[in-house]
Amino acid sequence: MKIITIDDSSTMRRIIKNTLKRIGYGDEILEAGDGKEALEVLENNDVDLIITDWNMPVMDGLAFVKKIRSDSKYDDTPIIMVTTEAAKEDIITALKAGVNNYIVKPFTPDVLKEKIETVLGKKD
């Protein structure tokens, strides 16, 4: 399974990468520091899951999700947003933009696993 994790914090990318390995999703993990960089990575790679932050420079997570959802190629690619934004209206905005699930930082490995299983349809 190929996953891309997008976050401007190298620490967060590291944590997510490490957590994915621990919960059994560490086969191949790609990284990007913002939405624009992620689009470049995705040009040469097909991924099964996208995990993105919201607040990032250059292209933020919301703009990235909107861009991805405007391309039919990614219709079936699940997106999980992992962010500090915890306001109800923000969560609604992200979901409306095309995010499949939403995690508020800080998160635990169990939560990430549960959300991944949900978006991959492994869990009801």
Binding site: S9, T11, R14, I15, T19, K105, P106, P109
Partner: protein
């Protein structure tokens, strides 16, 4: 222009504060070697910087900030970067601990089948040769197996703790974002002050800000120093 007019002009020019520029001119004069175009440009830039600095000081009316220290946003950016670097180093250390734990675990896994075989062998002996020596050896061996099991459990506990520590490191990103919020407020405040207050502040002539403001307890001492200086200068006929 008459010689008198020229002399007056030079005298007027000499009255102005141009210490920094003089220094650059002196440096030019000190060298006998021909100066390249690049060197000339560098010297001119240096002189320009000094004049710019003087102008900035004039504008700040004497308020002096430490170099870089007053650039709060830059400073906060530096703090964020530094903390991210340090947390990444900490993460590397935790990863190294985990790698060592993996090796220890592999090592235990590799010796466990031999220990089990040996235990079976000893159980056979104890059963068929129920002498105290054999039994004591068997008990001793069982305690070794228990120690190995304890090490295995400790490895697992240490690993869980390193994983927990890695999860806790998410605080860095959260703190960074909190600092960035503060930075955005400072930035907005800066814009606000520039737009609404700056012009009116500049339009009113104001006194230079004092460089040295003494504490109350120093007052008497400083007053005495002033008196002494005045007295000395009067004695010398300087005032």
């Amino acid at each position: 222009m008459s010689q008198n007019e020229i002399d007056d002009l030079i005298a007027e020019f000499n009255k102005t504060d141009k210490n920094g520029v003089d220094k650059v001119i002196e440096e030019f004069a000190e060298t006998d070697e021909p100066i390249s175009e690049k060197q000339q440009d560098e010297k001119l830039d240096e002189a320009k910087d000094i004049l710019d600095e003087d102008l900035a000081q004039e504008k700040l009316q004497g308020v002096r900030f430490e170099e870089k220290e007053h650039k709060v946003i830059d400073k906060l950016d530096e703090i964020n970067k530094e903390s991210e670097d340090k947390v990444n180093k900490l993460f590397e250390k935790l990863e190294t601990i985990n790698e060592e734990l993996d090796k220890t675990e592999e090592f235990i896994k590799s010796i466990k089948p031999y220990l089990e075989k040996h235990k079976e062998f000893m159980e056979f002996f104890v059963e068929h040769f129920p002498k105290t020596v054999v039994k004591n050896n068997y008990e001793y061996f069982k305690s070794i197996i228990k120690i190995v099991d304890d090490i295995e459990n400790s490895v697992s506990v240490i690993r869980d703790n390193t994983f927990d520590a890695m999860d806790i490191l998410q605080f860095q990103d959260i703190t960074r974002q909190k600092i960035e919020r503060v930075m955005s407020v400072i930035r907005a405040l800066h814009e606000y002050l520039n737009n609404w207050f700056s012009s009116s502040y500049d339009s009113i002539p104001r006194a230079r800000v004092a460089h040295t403001i003494i504490d109350e307890e120093e007052k008497e001492k400083v007053d005495q120093e002033v008196e002494d200086i005045i007295k000395q200068m009067q004695e010398k006929g300087e005032i």
